[in-house]
Subunit: 149 residues, 2 copies
């Protein structure tokens, strides 16, 4: 399960991506549209800002806007930023490798190979899918029927 925070981050980015790229959106407007606690969203957008994904203006007429292109923001990038590694084992993480303390030898670890495969297919999806890819899903009727299985 991804965290609530990551879910909020992704949805906020979708809202920003749909907006006029010149005009900043208020935290409160994004929060309301997506049912996100305002103060929590504030924290999230700050994280995204530190990473250079969004930018902000202060004061009246302030707000947030996308800094990177929507087609240049991958799900993988956001999830790693908010939730940490995508790999199921610390010893398989690209961004935060740690050896499993209870494991005597990585090469002969029986389960590592399996989770390596899992990590690879997961990354395959998350690192190729961008915020731009999911804009179509906003409105009813526009949904392609690739959904099931």
């Amino acid at each position: 399960m991804i965290s609530q925070k990551a879910k909020y981050a992704l949805r906020a980015l979708v809202v920003l991506a749909r907006a006029d790229s010149e005009k900043a959106l208020f935290i409160s407007d994004i929060a309301e549209e997506q049912n996100i606690p305002k103060k929590f969203l504030e924290q999230i957008l700050l994280d995204l800002k530190r990473e250079g994904i969004v930018m902000s203006r202060r004061g009246k007429m302030g707000g947030y806007l996308l800094l990177k292109g929507a087609d240049d923001i991958t799900f993988g990038e956001i999830l790693r930023l908010i939730d940490g590694p995508i790999a199921s084992l610390p010893c398989l993480s690209k961004i935060a490798y740690r050896r499993c303390e209870d494991c005597s030898d990585e090469d002969t670890c029986e389960i590592r190979h399996v989770f390596n495969e899992v990590a690879n297919v997961t990354r395959g999806v998350l690192d190729k899918t961008t915020i731009a890819d999911c804009l179509i899903y906003g409105e009813k009727g526009k949904i392609p029927a690739i959904l099931d299985m």
Copy 2:
């Protein structure tokens, strides 16, 4: 990341799968071989027993042995049992569906489609891989070089 508990469960099953299928293994022996806290492993094996994956004998000369065939125990099955749903969103879980309270409409949820794809590829690996599939990795030298990327 999978939990430590799930990691222990999988490794314990590998040990049981490698053992003579007639002879029960002591919790303490499995615990020692895989560096698992004995009391914790006890709890884990009890969970696996309730699911009919292993069985136990009590008393002196007691111990645990596999009830199901190693080729009939999938990673997916064990992970669902110990860690819960494999899906990244509650609204995509097969075993414990719950709607996201902050989501107004599942069909038009922008991120749901992406995580549905993630869940499908992940299940693809986890539900086809069994304990039997990873027995080869126990000893050094026997490792196929499919590992990387």
